[in-house]
Symmetry: C2
């Protein structure tokens, strides 16, 4: 396997997998093509073929892709064969929404523990789980061998929480805190900040278009 695959290519694979899974749910649908995928995703067919070619042959020229086979291969490539346990840190409004979100389990992940440092939140329920004291986090994560965490804490607490997660063996952090984190090499961080996304769009919403 090619070990120098650009991160932007890796980033598109989950989109392919998501759309293929939708297709698989459509009755009678067995095959697709780079053109059909492209149209649904707003990506060019050539880009899709090139992205997939990094990982070998997925179909013969002109005959399209078997949806279930492509799903299987992408699931392999992204290491989604087994469900990953995920720790959620922060049980505020957003943490509660994430803990209750049913979209994780169908797609390879399960939030298996929730932590908060606020005594008022420890012991309450979040998505069916009891919120645990963040002071016990390192021990729990190590016991459970958890390597993925979602950060839903305020900006000021984010770096210290990320440090604690990394020290406890976490290698992938999805952060909703509106701040850039510093992590050691080998640890992945992905960010979600709605304001950053909105601000990028307002650049295009100029006054003259009003």
């Amino acid at each position: 396997m090619d070990h120098t695959i650009p991160e932007i290519v890796i980033g598109r694979l989950p989109l392919y997998l998501r759309e293929l899974s939708r297709m698989a749910g459509e009755s009678g649908k067995i095959k697709t093509s780079s053109h059909e995928l492209a149209q649904r995703l707003g990506i060019s067919p050539a880009q899709i073929r090139k992205d997939l070619s990094h990982f070998g042959e997925f179909g013969k020229q002109g005959t399209g892709y078997h949806i279930s086979y492509l799903i299987e291969r992408l699931t392999d490539i992204l290491h989604l064969n087994d469900e990953w346990p995920v720790a959620l840190v922060g049980a505020g409004f957003l943490g509660q929404a994430l803990a209750s979100y049913r979209g994780f389990q169908r797609r390879g992940f399960a939030i298996t523990c929730v932590f908060d440092s606020d005594p008022a939140k420890v012991g309450v329920k979040a998505g069916g789980l009891v919120v645990q004291d963040a002071a016990t986090m390192a021990t729990r994560l190590r016991e459970a061998g958890i390597r993925i965490a979602i950060l839903a804490v305020p900006a000021d607490a984010a770096q210290a929480t990320a440090d604690a997660l990394v020290a406890a063996g976490v290698g992938a952090i999805l952060s909703y805190a509106p701040v850039s984190l510093t992590v050691p090499p080998g640890v992945s961080v992905s960010y979600s900040d709605p304001v950053v996304q909105l601000q990028q769009m307002t650049y295009h919403l100029s006054i003259e278009n009003e």
Copy 2:
């Protein structure tokens, strides 16, 4: 002004603005440098200087940037001088969390109306606003001149909702629905799907690293 600025450059400007705003809150801090910004953001100093150079001169070589001036300029460039009113569609767990999020107002946005098509949700409160019937959405958006919307509806309802928003004059959509949307040219869509982000990271979390 250069009108061919790559989207990836525009996408970094909100990160610069966010970090500069944090710096501005640090007591006694007046100036910064591309090196300091770079270190805090995990981006190279050369990249930051190159990104900013698209928009003119921000400081003299070797003297650094005035934080408040750079904030002012980025605020201008991203059209954040006035607060943008934002419509939120979907008042489920995530919609409630977004409606209650205080991070919008400090950074140029205010959710001013919330819609849902579920009769059980219409009339309830979300972040201090009364949830309105989605059937009235087009009229309300036009009346208020709202051009930005946040989509927090299920995947199956997302495309129809996006179509309705665009028809009502919305030009920028931040979608939390796990599905690719089709919109006319000139309309911006930005996506947030935690599973897509997690799946990109699991690629790097191979079994051998366990």
